[in-house]
């Protein structure tokens, strides 16, 4: 499992990763539109930098947080997609197959981080999001964003190595960092990890995500589908049989009386 670790304290907000992403994935220019969310991500921006004020506002200090697809270990989007257009590669990247997509946008609804974006403007629209440059990874290279980072704020590697590295950094600097690797356990773990000195819970829809992977929420209901199907059929047939028999007996007794 490949992963990306972003150290928020090292980011200088230079947007090198954003422009590298754009050129590596050949994304066109983007015009801010009404239908885009105000977090810089769009169908043509797969990663963005968010500025968060640090400490007191009078200090004018900021932290820059890179937003991108989290590449969940158990992705909700892939579980939700009715045609399996979104799926996980062996490397851990959650990628999209536009040949399969039907455009239902259930993945956008299912993602707890609100990552997948839609090409609203086009009459032939597709879902767009970070694909962890899985083409480059397969060639043995690293994604364009981590390659471009001038301060090593965002780095690429094996997920286990990066987790060790993250915990090491926190252990060596316990006063600096919040003692938490964001993405280690949330919703079953994500491949994009963050360590930070400010709270990063604002990145998701709700401040505290549980550790339960989201695909599990629907799996109980989906597992009971065949049982329900056969069960309701048998139940209904049973009722039918009983009532029919009762009616028949009634008629018989009637005719007997006559």
């Amino acid at each position: 499992m490949k992963a990306i670790l972003t150290d928020v304290t090292k980011c200088i907000g230079c947007l090198e990763c954003v422009s590298a992403c754009k050129s590596a994935n050949k994304l066109p220019m983007d015009i801010p539109r009404l239908w885009q969310k105000n977090d810089g991500l769009s169908a043509y921006n797969w990663t963005s930098i968010l500025a968060r004020p640090l400490e007191a506002l009078s200090d004018h200090k900021f932290r820059y947080i890179r937003k991108q697809c989290r590449h969940c270990l158990e992705p909700a989007c892939a579980s939700a997609c009715p045609v399996g257009a979104l799926h996980q590669t062996p490397d851990g990247a959650v990628v999209y197959d536009s040949q399969k997509c039907i455009g239902c946008r259930y993945c956008m609804m299912a993602c707890p981080y609100g990552i997948p974006r839609y090409d609203w403007e086009s009459p032939v629209p597709y879902i767009r999001k970070c694909i962890l440059c899985h083409g480059l990874i397969r060639e043995g290279k690293q994604p364009a964003c981590t390659e471009a980072c001038p301060t090593q704020a965002t780095i690429f590697g094996e997920r286990t190595d990066l987790l060790t590295e993250a915990h090491n950094r926190i252990r060596n600097n316990p006063d600096k960092y919040i003692n938490k690797v964001y993405g280690e356990h949330e919703i079953g773990g994500t491949s994009v990890l963050y360590i930070s000195d400010i709270d990063l819970d604002f990145m998701a829809y709700k401040t505290h995500l549980g550790t339960k992977p989201l695909p599990q929420t629907t799996s109980t209901a989906m597992k009971s589908v065949p049982v329900t199907f056969v069960g309701i059929g048998a139940f209904m047939y049973g009722i039918h049989w009983i009532i029919k028999r009762r009616n028949d007996l009634k008629e018989q007794s009637k005719s007997n009386e006559e």
Binding site: E16, H60, K100, G103, W120, E121, P123, P125, P150, I232
Partner: protein, 623 residues
Amino acid sequence: MNRVRAVKMILWMITGFAAAVGITRFIYGLGATTNLSDSTPWGLWIGFDIFSGVALAAGGFVITAIVYIMKREEFRPIVKPAVLTAFLGYVAVIISLLFDLGLPWNIWHMLVFWNPHSPLFEVGWCVMLYTTVLLLEFSPVPLENYSRYAKIRNFLMRFRFPLVLLGIMLSTLHQSSLGSLILIMPYKSFPLWYSGILPIQFFISAVALGLMMVTLESLFSGFLYKRHAETVLLSKLANAAVWVLTLYFIVKMTDIAVSGKLPLIFNGSWESFLFITEIFVSILIPIGIFSVARFRMSIRGLWFGSICVVVGMVLNRINVSGLSMLRGGGDSYFPSWMEISISAGVVSAAILVFLFAIEKFHVWEKPPRYPESEPSSRPQFDIPSQVWLGNPLESGRTRYSLAFLMSFALAFALIPGVDIHSKGAEIVTAEPARGGDSLFIDGNRDLYGVSFNHQKHISENGQKESCVICHHMNRPMEKESPCYRCHKLMYQPADAFEHEWHYNSKGGNIRCYQCHTPGLEKTALSAKKCDQCHNGLFPTGSRIIAKQYMAPSYVDAMHGLCVNCHRQKALTDDSKKDLARCGKCHESVPPDYMKPDAPGMNKRPYFNRVLMPGEEKVLKVVD
């Protein structure tokens, strides 16, 4: 005017309106026609047409279950209309889905590419199968009119019971699975509408809604064709609905109480009001009405109660599928008029088909009387022109076509070009220029600058329309235009060359023509280069060349003169690669001299980065 004719005309008008909008949607895409956005990817079409549409069509399986499974033969007269309503309902759902899907021509992919983990996959399959089942269940009715298809009809009639049973099984599955769709969004939905037993709640409410939809359909068509309503039959349905609604209420409230969400109902937020409204309209008011036998037996009571349930349950489906998530997404959404007209158009078209089927086929035991069946509306022989003409004022077809075309044209006229071609740039509230009307602009922060009169620029360039000339939203990746975009000469008296000193008698004391070639415009290009007067300005062998160009500001100089060059070098030479990287100079917390309140710095956030919603206001420094 005849009731049927008036209603049909209105329905044709709505359909015509929607047809024009529908064409626009397929040519220009979702962005041009809907108010959907990245934060609200599901809107009215999903909430009303799909979630509510499927639930509204539940009457078919409920009534067939009552008649074929429970053997309550007294309900047989309403089976055919109920199955027809359900069938048309499902067709309407599928057609709306074609509008909503981004790539509707790929809808068949669900048959080939399977993802059994997805509730939507299951719903899709069930809807497809159930629509087929409904078609087979209903098709004996139209086939009755044609004696040559008697064999097919008999064949279908023989499989009636298995079909009904299969229909009930499929309905149970997908009515509940629509609830499972939402289960994957625990962090997005508002807790009052999120529950682990959402599928069960959906199923129970669908049964209640099915009963009430059959009632409403019966009342409506009775009203339309001035037909005696089956009050006794309908009041029995209403009685059943009371029990189902009570069960629904108990299940729903118990679930909320057990999970400790009761306080949320009374916390005064808009979600709590929405919830209370929904509970009252969909459950409590109908239970109250139908519990009283006098109201249950009256036409007016039935009308009111069934409309309550239908409206309330539609509200519930819309809430669950999106309305309750608006706060989580941090965005607002209201359907555009085009979305509303498509939804209305699909429903109208379905009603028109329903009326057509009622008039042509043996859906009711006694066929209805409708205008076209009456002799007065027959086409008549026109004596002057010697041809058969329908009386244009009487003929239904002419009227309906006219209504359709007129509203079709109206819709096309109403669709604005802006909506079609672009949703426009992000709307930013304009604020007056800082420091009043005139602004001191100091690009290189050396305290020498120009005074910028905002009001003068606005009035000279065409008032409000002129804003975009400088504050560009029409050029990608550009926040605002620099002055030199228009004032091409503004860099002439730059800090590298002090104009004022050169022509001043106390300084250089030279005349204009001594530098600028006479007769030409006084630009940098028509002037001498520095080293033509200042001998030995550049040492011999220097790589610096005197150029006649605009002097860059400090930031531009550092980035443009150093970084660009080093970046070029870095492509071939790895040894000094770091000199081209931002991180060489910049640190994660900027140094003092780059802070906004440092002397000479503009008082505003120094990075044009995306701020989180709400933070712009906090950060805006008020002078």
